[in-house]
Symmetry: C2
Subunit: 297 residues, 2 copies
C-alpha cells in the first residue's frame, strides 16, 4: 500500500496527515497558521519521519487557501499570490517544502482538494462533474469537471460572483472589500454578523437572517448550475451545516431556475443534488491527500 502526505493549509490552521484514504490515516497533526516559515517548518518536521522506512510517503499533496498559482509552467507556480493574510503574500510554499522533503508535490486550492476528495470518496462518488462550495468565513468553490480538477487561467473564485441584490428586502450593502455586494460580500459568515450584529451560529432557526441568507445562496447556486451544469453540488463550511439551511436552499433554487434545466436530478431530486459533504471535518486534509493519489485521474 502506497502512502502519501497531505497538507491542508487553512487561514487559521494547518492540518497534516499521512495515509492512503479516508479510512487509512496513519497520523494527523493540527497547528495554528502563524508565519509562513514557522508554519511550513512544523509541517516539514511532521513529514520528516515519513521519508524513509516501511511508512515512507511517495508524494505530498498541498491544498491551501488562495489565491494561489497552480499553473505548472508559470514563473510563480507554487506561490501563494497577494493575499490579505499577513505575511503570506508571494510565499513560495511549494519550493519551501520541496527543498526540505524532496518529494513530488501536488499543489492546489483547498476547495479543489475538497471537491476531489468528495468526488472520489464522498458525496460526489460516481459523478464526473462535482462542484464543492464552502460558505464560512469566506466563500469559495472547487470544480472537478470531466473527471479532473479545473484551473483554467488560475483557479475559480466563485465566491465573488455578482448576484441580484434586492435592497428593499436586504438593505445591508455588502462587505466585500473588492466588490461590496458580491455573493461573499452578502452571504459569508462575517457579512451575516455585520448585518445582524451577532454571529451566524447564535441566530435562532426562525430568525429573518436565514430567509435572506438562503435567497443569496439560491441565486448563486442557480448561477453555478446554469454555468457549469454539475452533477452534484456539495455545500461545505460552517454556515450551511445548520440543518435548516439546505432545505430552504433547495426550494429556492427550484424557484429561481423555474423548470428551465430539464433534469430530474434537479426537478425531482434536488435534496440529493445539493448536499452536505460526507467527509466531515477531514474533508480538507483528505482533499490534500487526494491530490497525489488521483493525480492521474
Amino acid at each position: 500500500m502506497s502512502l502519501f502526505g497531505g497538507i491542508e493549509g487553512g487561514g487559521t490552521k494547518f492540518v497534516c496527515a499521512v495515509g492512503s484514504g479516508p479510512n487509512e490515516i496513519i497520523e494527523e497533526a493540527r497547528f495554528p497558521t502563524t508565519t509562513p516559515d514557522e508554519t511550513t517548518g512544523k509541517a516539514i518536521h511532521f513529514f520528516k519521519k515519513y521519508l524513509d522506512g516501511p511508512q515512507k510517503i511517495t508524494a505530498l499533496g498541498v491544498a491551501t487557501f488562495g489565491p494561489i498559482d497552480p499553473g505548472k509552467s508559470s514563473p510563480t507556480y507554487g506561490h501563494i499570490l497577494p493575499t490579505p493574510k499577513a505575511g503570506w503574500s508571494n510565499y513560495d510554499i511549494v519550493s519551501a517544502l520541496k527543498k526540505e522533503l524532496e518529494l513530488p508535490i501536488h499543489f492546489d486550492t483547498d476547495v479543489n482538494g475538497a471537491a476531489l476528495a468528495e468526488a472520489k470518496w464522498g458525496a460526489g462518488k460516481g459523478c464526473d462533474t462535482v462542484l464543492y462550495i464552502t460558505i464560512g468565513t469566506g466563500i469559495g468553490g472547487g470544480l472537478y469537471i470531466n473527471g479532473s480538477l479545473s484551473h483554467g487561467l488560475l483557479h475559480p473564485e466563485m465566491g465573488h460572483i455578482r448576484i441580484p441584490h434586492d435592497l428593499s428586502k436586504d438593505p445591508f450593502k455588502g462587505s466585500c472589500p473588492f466588490h461590496t455586494d458580491c455573493f461573499e460580500g452578502l452571504a459569508a459568515g462575517p457579512s451575516i454578523e455585520k448585518r445582524w450584529g451577532q454571529k451566524a451560529e447564535t441566530l435562532p432557526k426562525d430568525h429573518p437572517a436565514w430567509d435572506i441568507e438562503t435567497d443569496h445562496i439560491a441565486n448563486a447556486l442557480a448561477n453555478y448550475i446554469l454555468t457549469i451544469s454539475p452533477q452534484k453540488i456539495i455545500v461545505g463550511g460552517g454556515v450551511a451545516q445548520q440543518e435548516h439551511i439546505l432545505p430552504m436552499v433547495h426550494s429556492k433554487v427550484l424557484k429561481v431556475l423555474n423548470g428551465y434545466v430539464q433534469s430530474e436530478q434537479i426537478t425531482k431530486n434536488i435534496s440529493s443534488y445539493i448536499v452536505l459533504p460526507e467527509l466531515g471535518n477531514m474533508a480538507g486534509v483528505l482533499g490534500a491527500l487526494a491530490l497525489p493519489i488521483f493525480a492521474n485521474g
Copy 2:
C-alpha cells in the same frame, strides 16, 4: 485524408458540410429549419452522396440548438428536449439520421461545437479552457474545459444566469419567459428591441442602449470568469459583432472584477482575452465538423 460530415442545426437554418477542417470544406448546403422530418430529410439527402467512394465520410457531427440530451447513457440521448421551437420538442434527431446514414454520430449543442472549433482552429488555439458565448436572438455558452467539452448534468445554459439589475439605470423589466431579468432576458437581441422599440442593428453607436447592454454583458462575463476561470472568452452572435461593443465590455469587466483575479491576461491584456470568433460565419458548421474530428481529444 479522412472526411467528416457536419450539421449545424439552428433555429432558423440548417447548414451541412463535408470536409476535414476550416480550409478543407468540399461542399456546403444551407436550408431553412422547417419541420423536423423535412429538415432532417434534406440533410440526409445531402450526405447520401458521401456514403461511398473516394469522398466517403467516416462520421457525422451534429451541433444543434437546445436544450438537447447529449448524455450517451440517457434514455433520451440524441433528442431535442422540450423547446419553444414548434414541432421539435422530443425529436430524436440522432436516431433519424443514424437510421438513414448508418454513421457514427457525435451530438452536442451548437455552442459547444463552436467552443470546440474556436479552441482547435480559431481564437482559442492553444488554450485548454475556452468559453464561447453567443449573444444574439438568445444567449448561450459552450465550454471547452481541461481539453474537452463539458456537459455535466445536461449542458450549461449560461444565458440564463441572474445578474444585478439596477432598475434606476435600466427600468426595462426583462423579457425571459422563465426568469424575467436573467442575462438573456436583459441583453439578448429581442430584449434590446423591446426596450428601445427598434432592432439592435439599427441603434447608432452613441445610443444609450449600448451603455446598458455592455453593463449586463460585463456583469455576466465577470461571473463566468470567476466561476470557470477560462483562458479565453470568445463572444459570438450578432450583438457583439458591432465593433464598439467589446471595447466597452473590456473596461467594464475590469471594473467589475476590480483587480481580484490576479492574472495579467485579465489585468493587462483584456482586449486579447475577451475576443471575437475567428471562424466567422462558418463557426457553426465547423463546430459540428469538429465534434467527430476531435472526439478523442
